[in-house]
């Protein structure tokens, strides 16, 4: 009797608890996907579908003309090439130098915490504060609008990220293996390269991916420090400002091209996401 009375009640209370949960998740998934889908679908839409009402969600005749136009007529391909060169080079530099400094701080307590916090504070510096003097310095050093100039700037910009991610990683790793290597007569350099680095490889890969994504998506320094030659992919979007001539398809094609690599990389290192977002302050 009591069972029969309580059972439907309990089911209903669980259902009312579950419904907001499901609505919350579903609502946000839709919110995330709809503008992305609209962008991707616009990139393959024929021009005649642009202003159709109701909006065209599934173009009957998909086309790739916008991709070829965006890449070749709007110099998207040059931007893409520059982005690949600049992001790869600064990723290697930032990850190598960042890992080395992190190892020094984690194993030898170099700078006893002050150095670590000084590096962290660099992360919170607004880009506009360093961009103004860098612009003036780069013009007199002939680094303005060069690949090398932007690579150096991005290396420095991402060092707090790579240092702190690796600092947190090394502190988690036991040092006993490195100590054993030193007892066996290896030098500190050998202990680092032959023992610590292979052990920290997953962390190094994750740090490298976060650095790459940060550089790949950066806009402000590229806007200010380049013009006709070393411009990166995000700066190409200036061509579509105000959408004069209604280059919707071209803008969307370029955006789709640009976001695929960073999303794929990002999802691959999902496991390290919390560490990447909080610079190792939170383990996740």
């Amino acid at each position: 009797m009591a069972d029969a009375a309580t059972r439907p009640l309990r089911i209903r209370s669980r259902a009312t608890a579950e419904l907001p949960r499901i609505l919350c998740i579903a609502g946000f998934v839709i919110f995330v996907l709809v503008p992305l889908y609209w962008m991707v679908v616009t990139s393959i839409k024929p021009t005649s579908d642009y202003l159709a009402l109701p909006p065209v969600w599934f173009p009957a005749e998909p086309t790739i003309v916008h991709y070829t136009a965006a890449l070749f007529s709007y110099r998207g391909l040059d931007g893409l090439t520059n982005s690949i060169i600049i992001a790869s080079a600064s990723t290697v530099l930032s990850t190598v130098f960042g890992t080395l400094m992190a190892y020094s701080m984690a194993r030898f307590n170099t700078g006893s915490g002050h150095l670590a916090f000084w590096v962290l504070s660099q992360r919170f510096l607004p880009p506009v504060a360093t961009a103004l003097p860098l612009f003036l310095m780069f013009r007199s050093w002939h680094l303005y609008d060069t690949h090398v100039g932007l690579i150096i700037v991005y290396t420095v910009m991402t060092l707090p990220l790579s240092v702190w991610m690796m600092y947190a990683y090394f502190r988690q790793l036991p040092r006993s293996l490195e100590d054993a290597a030193l007892v066996d007569g290896l030098s500190r350099w050998q202990a680092l390269w032959m023992v610590a680095v292979p052990l920290a490889a997953p962390g190094i890969v994750a740090a490298a991916v976060f650095v790459f994504v940060a550089v790949w998506t950066e806009f402000f320094f590229a806007l200010v420090l380049t013009s006709r030659y070393a411009f990166t992919l995000p700066t190409v979007f200036r061509a579509f400002l105000g959408f004069q001539g209604a280059q919707y398809g071209e803008a969307c094609a370029l955006a789709t091209t640009s976001l695929v690599p960073s999303i794929v990389l990002g999802i691959l290192v999902q496991r390290h996401l919390v560490r990447g977002l909080t610079l190792g302050a939170l383990r996740g």
């Binding site: 996907l33 040092r175 007569g185 995000p234 959408f243």
Partner: protein, 313 residues
Amino acid sequence: MTQYIGSGGAAPALGRRQEAGLSAWAERYFRWLIALPALLLILALSVYPLLFSLWVNFVNYDFDIPGHDFVGLQNFVDVVSDPNARSALVVTAVLSVINVAIEFVLGLSLALAMAKTFRGRTLIMSILIVPLFISPVIVGQSWALFLERPFGPANYILGEILRHPVNISWLTESPWYYVAIIIADVWQWTPFMFVVLLAGLAAIPPNLYEAAELDALSTWATFFYITIPQLAPVILLAITFRLLDAVRLFDVIFMMTGGGPGTATYTVSFYLYQVGFQQFHLGVATAGSWIFLVLLSVVIWILVRRLLRAEKS
């Protein structure tokens, strides 16, 4: 031998002492040698430019006027007396607080909703974090495309839901341009709050919830007396990180409104970009960026001190 282990690299191992010279020296200063490249890079490209800009503050550095004469505080006077600068500061502060507040509430709800495991959770996680890996330039551009008429479907969708025609010019009509900017920012950064808070939720010891269940605490009481206090340090961390990025707001403004209509959506970064890199009053822009830096340092000092205190307790 063991006494040398972990001694900070100052003492080389006994057997190696004979092979003096370069390798011994490298071994002795190992900890500094490996920290040096990163240290030098930061000093050369972050600290030195800031010191250089300290000098720019007090001289004429304007592409319209030749020479770099000492002008005293004129650059600061110019920027403080500019009404655009003041309104940019207000817009930045208000937009940052609104953005971070909305992102926090949505992120926390989403984290609570996603805390339990269920079928398809991994896939949904992958979808929810996608905005974090997209350039803010593209976020601004795709929301502009999605919202602005006549091309964007937003007005049509709203019209279908509300069952009467909607005709909003999202990027040029007050107050909708603020709403459009907030939507784009919330879209991109709610996942940040969500991911960080979810990690915080996962770290709460489950026996606290078991105790609450034994004491027959209601869902709300459990939330306010267990979840929120336990989560407090992570909340502070998430808000600190997010707020310090939110005040830089530039890319979305650049792509969506271009600071307009007029100067209505100028943020500090956008204002400084206009003054420095479009009008080339570099001295004035530098002075403005230093004022911004000092104001920001106060915020950082308050938040980070709280953060450290929360971590200790």
